[in-house]
Symmetry: C2
Subunit: 123 residues, 2 copies
DNA sequence: CTATCATATGAGCATACATTCATATGAAAG
DNA sequence: CTTTCATATGAATGTATGCTCATATGATAG
């Protein structure tokens, strides 16, 4: 009960030293927030399907909605989300708008995720 | 206007051939669902913070809640989500339970995401 | 045994979000 | 100009989910 040290309070684990180090290593709060926001985009089956489809070829909106058997509106909303996250870009050709993958991170992120869920439990 | 071919119906784009090919390339629906579920786990700031903290060291629950300034209950709930997705594991040491990263995919997935949000728009 | 510490869990609530429906925009054809 | 095709968007709704609060479990100390 009697602590000779003035400032030492130890009613729970003392991880102050460890936490201090970790705090210096953590990215900025904004970065962590943006990261979570990015992964949220991958966290929906419809969007994952769209991205996988775009692995094969650029596609117009109606092709995607036909492929997934979903409303044009639903697809359009999701494409907007993907575009806002810079995961896809689009180009216009007459009335048609073609969507395509914006960069290679999409592939590597999904590939890593795929490995995680397919590998049973090795490593 | 006059289509001599019997079966050609072209009231919208004809992407039947393209879609047929893409359909064969798409992973199973269950796989796509599991993938989205996995990324959902990364799609939350609290869980991202926890994972980043575990990059540095294994940690007990109360250390994490102290680090993030959040309730023990909230952290415990999130650790369960992370554990269910096999992203973290735990070991017991007396009353304390230490959590640690389950495999390296966590690092590579987060690293790829980090690259995406930090690179402005090169490549 | 009881008390305490560390963690887990179930219910409830409040917010976030994916789809639908109706409508708007924008380009090309007549 | 008007019509049609391709896509976009706003509002509404139902569902999913993160946190809180209270309580339960599980291990150690006394």
């Amino acid at each position: 009960m009697a602590d000779k040290d003035i400032s030492v309070k130890r009613n729970m684990h003392n991880h102050d030293a460890l936490l201090l180090k970790i705090r210096t290593e953590l990215p900025q709060d904004e970065t962590l927030f943006n990261l979570a926001d990015l992964f949220k985009v991958f966290g929906d089956t419809t969007r994952i399907k769209i991205l996988y489809a775009l692995f094969e070829s650029e596609l117009c909106v109606c092709a995607i909605s036909e492929l997934l058997g979903m409303t044009q509106s639903a697809i359009s909303h999701q494409l907007r989300v993907l575009k806002d996250s810079k995961l896809v870009s689009s180009r216009r050709e007459g009335k048609t708008i073609y969507y395509f993958l914006a960069d290679d991170h999409v592939r590597s992120i999904i590939d890593q995720g795929y490995e995680h869920i397919t590998e049973g439990s090795d490593k």
